[in-house]
Amino acid sequence: MSEETKKLSRRDLLCGGARGAGLLGLGAAAGFLGGRESHDDEVWQIDPGKCIQCGLCTTECVLSVSAVKVVHSHGMCGYCQLCTGYFDPNPVSLDEGAENQLCPTGAIEREFVEDPYYEYRILEDLCVGCGKCVKGCNMFGNGSLYLQVKHDLCINCNVCAIATACPSQAFRKVPKDDPYLLRGKGAIG
């Protein structure tokens, strides 16, 4: 082999390097897209039977306001006058005064139905997903309030920051076309 052919010119080195880098980039992009495709038919959701209302849903979500919100099973609700998900444990009186309400953001409203029943509704724009009302409902009531990832808000990160932090492993992937774990439907609770 002559001295001429043994030498690698700077141009050859640059060309080879660029070609290699391009191939590597293509491979990485293909792998990334392939990997994404396999998860596109699944979304994150909270199993209400495992959730312990630790508050991390509020602080760990990458969105400025968490995609986790309280949902309310009206079929299970007792429509109680003294709702432990709505009222402070020791309310001054059983009315809608802010000092009597449990929710720090005022995200639950109630409406008189008929004596002695009241309907409770979640104001989703105000809810930060802290789960304080869920704890009150679980502890004293029948668990008709619980947390769920709202998929009109969630951006479905491949690695969900809340799922990573969740101390009770309550987050799991569910089919995208059936994205909620409602009480009595796939949820342990």
Binding site: G55, T84, P116, K135, M139, F140, G141, N142
Partner: protein
């Protein structure tokens, strides 16, 4: 490398290049490692997450202890029950205790020794001893009548399919079944035929109807012949005349020891021969005493006596929702308490009068 005179000195030889490249890589690697470690430990100010304030925590710890001076009973015995998902108890005149759960009934003597197990295919919701030889077993949609040896004698099935019989009371006047699913008390004769329904709305005093958000709804007939029924959503115990009209009611909502806590308590009660009551609450597990007029007189067991129960409810675990406490008074005047979370039975005896 030594240069000949007049030869241009190269700015960097191969060895120096490799050395400096290795140094550079090492420094970059160390920096990356440090950044990664900083991120993992969360000590970097950029990655620190905000914490929720105290206003976001649900704290009822101040209600989870009771004043020792109010305690009127001591624990004599505590044992784990031997039936899966035990939820109801009944005691016979001879002191034999029946514990009902998902797989059937455990029969134990007054000291907690197992006498027998009666296996049943469907979960037991409630139990009552009828006379000296029959056991009424409440199951969803039916009442099963067993001999005390476990033989099936008959099945009363003339009920709605969704009937949830959470309590059965047998008196000289009738058999009463509390149906938590339909929020009514069903009055039956000794043959199990329906002879009336109490909905809690009509009476001498104004009735509000039975409010039963959780499957806890209890009936007992007092020595005065009035049927006592819990109305947990109204936080009271109501007394009904034999014709089904509401005669009187007592109780109020409060986390204070004198009241009934949460959205729906009391979940269970029993009546002493003098007309006074022992009541049970869930959420804050409390077993308390009230006189015949509904005036609070003391504590049998406070929340601090149920550590397993408190551990579950404080952790926010879903199984806290709907977990109850049940109590019966045995012929010796002892109070038997079933803790549905710990699956334990406690035998409580009255303190000596000097120790109260």
């Amino acid at each position: 490398m030594k240069n000949e005179p007049g030869e241009l000195k190269p700015s960097l030889d191969r060895r120096a290049f490799v050395r400096s490249a290795a140094w550079g890589s090492g420094v970059v690697g160390l920096g990356a490692l440090a950044g990664y470690a900083l991120k993992r430990t969360g000590s970097g100010t950029q990655t620190e997450k905000p914490k929720l304030g105290a206003e976001f925590s649900y704290d009822v710890s101040r209600f989870q202890t009771s004043d020792p001076a109010l305690k009127r009973y001591d624990e004599l015995l505590r044992y784990r029950v031997g039936i899966e998902s035990a939820r109801c108890i009944a005691v016979a005149e001879d002191g034999v205790l029946y514990v009902g759960g998902d797989e059937g009934i455990q029969v134990v003597d007054g000291e907690g020794c197992e006498l027998a197990v009666i296996r049943l295919a469907r979960p037991v919701q409630s139990l009552a001893v009828m006379g000296s030889d029959r056991l009424l077993v409440g199951q969803k949609g039916r009442i099963l009548v067993l001999g005390l040896d476990g033989r099936e004698l008959e099945s009363w099935d003339d009920f709605p399919e969704d009937m949830l019989p959470t309590s059965i009371d047998v008196s000289e006047l009738a058999v009463h079944v509390a149906d938590a699913a339909n929020r009514v008390v069903r009055k039956l004769n000794e043959a199990g035929e329906g002879i009336g329904v109490i909905d809690g709305r009509s009476g001498v005093v104004e009735g509000v109807g039975f409010k039963v958000p959780s499957p806890y709804f209890c009936v007992k007939t007092g020595a005065d012949g009035l049927l006592r029924v819990t109305n947990p959503g109204a936080h009271r115990v109501e007394a009904y005349l034999p014709d089904g009209r509401l005669e009187l009611a007592w109780g109020r909502a409060s986390f204070a020891i004198e009241g009934f806590c949460g959205c729906c308590n009391p979940v269970d009660f029993d009546i002493f021969p003098d007309g006074s009551y022992v009541t049970c609450e869930k959420g804050l597990p409390r077993v308390k005493l009230y006189d015949a007029h509904g005036v609070f007189t003391g504590v049998v067991a406070g929340p601090e006596d149920f550590p397993e129960y408190l551990a579950v409810v404080n952790a926010g675990a879903h199984k806290a929702a709907g977990a109850g406490i049940q109590a019966v008074i045995d012929p010796a005047g002892r109070i038997l308490i079933l803790d549905a979370i710990a699956q334990k039975l406690r035998v409580m005896v009255r303190k000596e009068s000097g120790n109260e």
